[in-house]
């Protein structure tokens, strides 16, 4: 019972986090917390086999797949806040509350009777008992799951496969395209500057500087910009230097160095 009352509030808070966090990666972390806590609850409910399967399949495989796809489609895809159906959010919350309260009340009134417990059923060990059911009573369903898994694997391969409709552009095509862009828009045909050129640091989060000291925004990867991890290339260089030259030592960040 201590396990339950420790984990249950944590799980509910994490599940609510799934509703309220803005970034999809944070939602994935919240879901991972719920799944690991569920695994511990399975262990407390005399289901050691499901405890292992929950950790391996859900937190191991499925959450990895979610994070993998999140990284693939880009962490910078923002969540639209505009409602297409007016008032949908409030209707959803009211309906959800009504649904949940009804279910909790119904369960509270109907489920009664003594808990039999699994000591007898787990007599030969929990995996043994499960295997006896799985390969005895439910063997047909077990066979069907194999068909399901094969179909899912083939389906994923077909859906994720991209057919190339035109030939791959060659280096000459790319060079010609660059010159056409230059003629049309005046975009520089050469290589863009790498991050950190003329800046104090050459890390990937520091934008390159032009000769006049302004930052070149497109020298940084867009995903770093989306995560808000860009370091101002000259914030700690030119600004600090200017302050030092002007004799303005009121800034406490310089206090230690003087």
């Amino acid at each position: 019972m201590i396990t339950f009352w420790t984990l249950a509030p944590l799980m509910v808070i994490s599940a609510l986090g799934l509703l309220f966090v803005r970034k999809a990666v944070h939602a994935a972390l919240c879901l991972a917390v719920v799944m690991i806590s569920l695994a511990v609850l399975y262990a407390a409910l005399d289901a050691p086999f499901l405890f292992a399967v929950q950790i391996i399949v859900y937190t191991g495989a499925i959450m990895m797949l979610f994070l993998f796809v999140l990284m693939l489609v880009g962490v910078d895809t923002e969540d639209a806040v505009k409602e297409t159906i007016g008032g949908q959010r409030w209707i959803a919350v009211v309906l959800g509350l009504a649904f949940g309260i009804t279910l909790v009340l119904a369960i509270g009134q109907t489920v009664a009777g003594a808990v039999i417990g699994l000591n007898a059923a787990n007599g030969n060990g929990n995996p043994y008992g499960l295997a006896e059911l799985l390969f005895g009573k439910y063997v047909l369903a077990f066979e069907f799951t194999s068909a399901l898994l094969i179909t899912a694997a083939v389906g994923a391969m077909v859906l994720a496969h991209k057919e190339r409709l035109d030939s791959r552009p060659t280096q000459a095509d790319r060079a010609a395209q660059r010159m056409r862009d230059y003629a049309a828009t005046g975009r520089h045909p050469g290589n863009p500057p790498t991050p950190g050129v003329f800046a104090r640091h050459n890390a990937v989060d520091t934008p390159a500087l032009l000769p006049d000291g302004t930052a070149v925004d497109h020298s940084i990867s867009p995903s770093i910009v989306a995560r808000g991890q860009v370091r101002d290339g000259y914030d700690d260089d030119i600004v600090t230097l200017k302050r030092q030259l002007d004799g303005d030592d009121s800034d406490d960040s310089l206090g230690g160095e003087k």
Binding site: A8, L18, A47, I116, L118, G129, L148, A160
Partner: protein, 97 residues
Amino acid sequence: MTEYLSLSLILFTIGAVGVLVRRNAIVVFMCIELMLNATNLAFVSFSRQTGNLDGQVAAFFVMVVAAAEVVVGLAIIVSIYRTRRSISVDDASLLKS
């Protein structure tokens, strides 16, 4: 046993509200997973209540189906993202005209 079932129902409700409220297709998918997990918890606690392992076998099958569903669903999301450069569920409304 009632408290385990109540927790399972609360998680299921949160997942259902999330499916209705969130716009990002991947987060909607996570909410569906939360609902499946909540039903699993109910299965396992009923299994302990009634004293046989059938509920645990049912939870096991739910996990298998959920794994297959996630694989196919995420592949669909990836292919939608590839053609439309967006994973918001509001953008995929071509049939509405």
